[in-house]
Subunit: 399 residues, 2 copies
């Protein structure tokens, strides 16, 4: 057998590939977190985060995985016994329920089938049932485990109409899909560094409205407990001039983020959304042209990951394994009860047209390898068609 050159292609929805400029800045000499050279970077990052989160509020920044920012929302908003409504439709939505239970909430958990969207009308009924008692609605913008995108605007409006704080996990969708936080009246948006923000994992964010801060202050007075993820403590530091962090910030990752946010600024947020729209459309058209079934409802906005059902007769676990071991392409399979049933083609962050083509070509070849009837080029041609018609161009080299 001819040995392929062992070049690796990372095509997962987090960690995502890093632009070379982001990687390179981490190799520079480390900075002391109180030195003017770092404080300047930190202040700029905090401002640039507001641009990406589309908010005038402070984007609280923690050294943690994205789940740390999720925990911050529950730990700050919920005192023991408080009613919390969780609307989940996948693995990451379930994490909200686990967190609420861990913090002693009276959790109302609406579980939508994996692969479906959360129904705002159902959430409305659940909130009405508890007669305005619920302190917060915890739900997901883009559910990474299924590729499904929820209707953030409608869910935020439903929460507000019942006096509940709306909290969205936007770990994978921030910087992919438009989420005008302030304009839509969304209270809390949490995210992480390792998806569309094109950085390594290790930074977590929570954009928090004044309304949410007031509920947090009330919860604290009624026994909510936390320290490292305390919003008030971090807010106090970030509001100083120059901004400060209550704990040693992950300076290397902050510098990486500064570079990544500059790249987003240069592309413009609108440009970033448009690029992901084309990437998502191309991936969906390719999957259909290969004769595979899209998992969940087809949605022009679900541009974080494209999810395809594993064809009948194909070992679902073997598919990503074959792509990785034979072709050096790392894509993700299913999680939880979707293990072995789906493959997820990521295109969130530092992804261009030819990355989607690589994933599709590799998928065709892996399916062929596993004995599936494949017409080489069917998927890639469909994607090329989308890219060609979208008039994509590399206006200037990025990275």
């Amino acid at each position: 057998m001819t040995q392929l050159y062992g070049k690796q292609y990372l095509m997962t929805a987090g960690p995502t590939p890093l632009p070379p400029a982001v990687s390179q800045v981490m190799a520079e000499p480390i900075l002391y977190h109180r030195a003017p050279a770092f404080v300047e970077v930190y202040a700029r990052v905090l401002e640039r985060l507001k641009m990406v989160f589309q908010t005038r509020n402070e984007v609280l920044t923690f050294a943690a995985s994205g789940s740390g920012a999720m925990e911050s929302a529950v730990a700050n908003l919920i005192a023991p016994g408080d009613v919390a409504v969780v609307a989940s439709a996948g693995k990451f939505g379930q994490r909200w329920a686990e967190l609420c239970d861990a913090y002693g909430a009276d959790t109302v958990h609406l579980e939508t089938e994996w692969g479906e969207k959360v129904d705002p009308a159902e959430v409305d009924r659940a909130l009405a049932d508890r007669g305005g008692q619920a302190k917060a609605l915890f739900t997901t913008q883009s559910e990474t485990s299924t590729g499904v995108l929820n209707d953030v605007r409608a869910l935020a409006e439903v929460a507000a109409s019942h006096g509940a704080i709306s909290v969205f996990d936007a770990v994978s969708g921030l910087g992919v899909i438009d989420l005008p936080t302030d304009e839509w009246g969304v209270d809390v948006v949490v995210s992480g560094s390792q998806k569309a923000l094109m950085c390594p994992p290790g930074l977590a964010f929570a954009a928090v409205s004044d309304r949410a801060l007031a509920v947090a202050a009330d919860a604290r007075a009624r026994g909510a407990r936390n320290y490292y993820f305390d919003w008030e403590r971090t807010l106090k530091g970030q509001r100083k001039d120059p901004p400060d962090s209550p704990f040693t910030p992950a300076v290397t990752l902050i510098r990486a983020l500064d570079v990544a946010l500059r790249l987003i600024e240069e592309e413009t947020l609108q440009g970033v959304f448009e690029r992901h729209t084309v990437l998502g459309r191309a991936a969906r058209e390719a999957v259909k042209a290969m004769g595979l079934e899209l998992f969940g409802p087809e949605d022009e906005q679900a541009n974080v990951v494209t999810v395809a059902r594993t064809p009948d007769g194909i070992d679902g676990a073997a598919l990503p394994k074959t792509m990785r071991d034979k072709f050096g392409i790392t894509i993700a399979g299913g999680q939880g009860h979707l293990k072995g049933k789906i493959v997820r083609i990521a295109h969130c962050g530092y992804y261009g047209a030819f990355d989607v083509l690589t994933s599709i070509a590799g998928l065709e070849m892996a399916l062929d390898e596993l004995g599936h009837d494949v017409t080489f080029g069917a998927g890639t041609a469909a994607a090329q068609e989308v890219f060609a018609r979208a008039g994509i161009r590399a206006a200037q080299p990025v990275g």
Copy 2:
């Protein structure tokens, strides 16, 4: 005035300078956290951590600042209303009291004057006063804010004699001063990546004994609440074969740590301790030879930072500022009520003889600049004497 070349010298106790090999590995392409290439690194790091922590127990690893690991100890061991004894002697010791209060403990806070050591006999009395009720003793190995080293062995014995779990903040002292965790019966040692482990900030560690895990299980049953920092959850992941992490690990920092721990392994832990002993002795002799007063009791083991009182008549805030702005040397001044009263010369981690000489020479020059009567070379000569007599040699290039 002649412009000095703007070369920068980072001489703080965290973030500390990084070996070039550690910096460089962060610029390599990022790995998917479930890919074999990363899992192999992760497994090796977890094993190497046991070597540095001198324990057979699992060293639980979190994406967080060191304070996150401190929080994990309080959040896991303390249920609301539990008695916790905190023995502090500086800023970081006080953090234990803040954490215990935040988690609803019945906190007994023994405050030792900053610059003094915690007295084990006093801790013994406090634990006896509560008649074996205290669940845990929270204290500090090396208090970075004062340079003082506590008697870990005696404090651990006192705690054990009263049936309390002993918990040590070894953020700055781990990998500087011998701390045979298992041999001394220490229950919990917490640390961070950005000091003697020669990595950027963003990773936090807790080595946890079986006894401590049992107390944590009991506390959970009685209402202790946590999620991200839950020991059981992280332990379960790390004990899998291959090991796993419940949340996306900070893969870039884990790779950096892998390289740093390899360097420690090559130097040997004993070699690392001996190097720091010589660095600390040289810094103390230099400070004394300059006619400055050491802050706190002179201690042959206090080898993390050497702390000197700012001489009378010198603006304490101006001293580190002058070193930084005029000479490019970043050292730390005092924190809290020691602000402006001390300077701290760090030598924990990737520090060699000539780094201490740089700090001392810069300190002489900054004091001269500020009008203090200085004999150039008095301090550096004393340090050179120590280094020459210790027979230091660069056996092989490190980094």
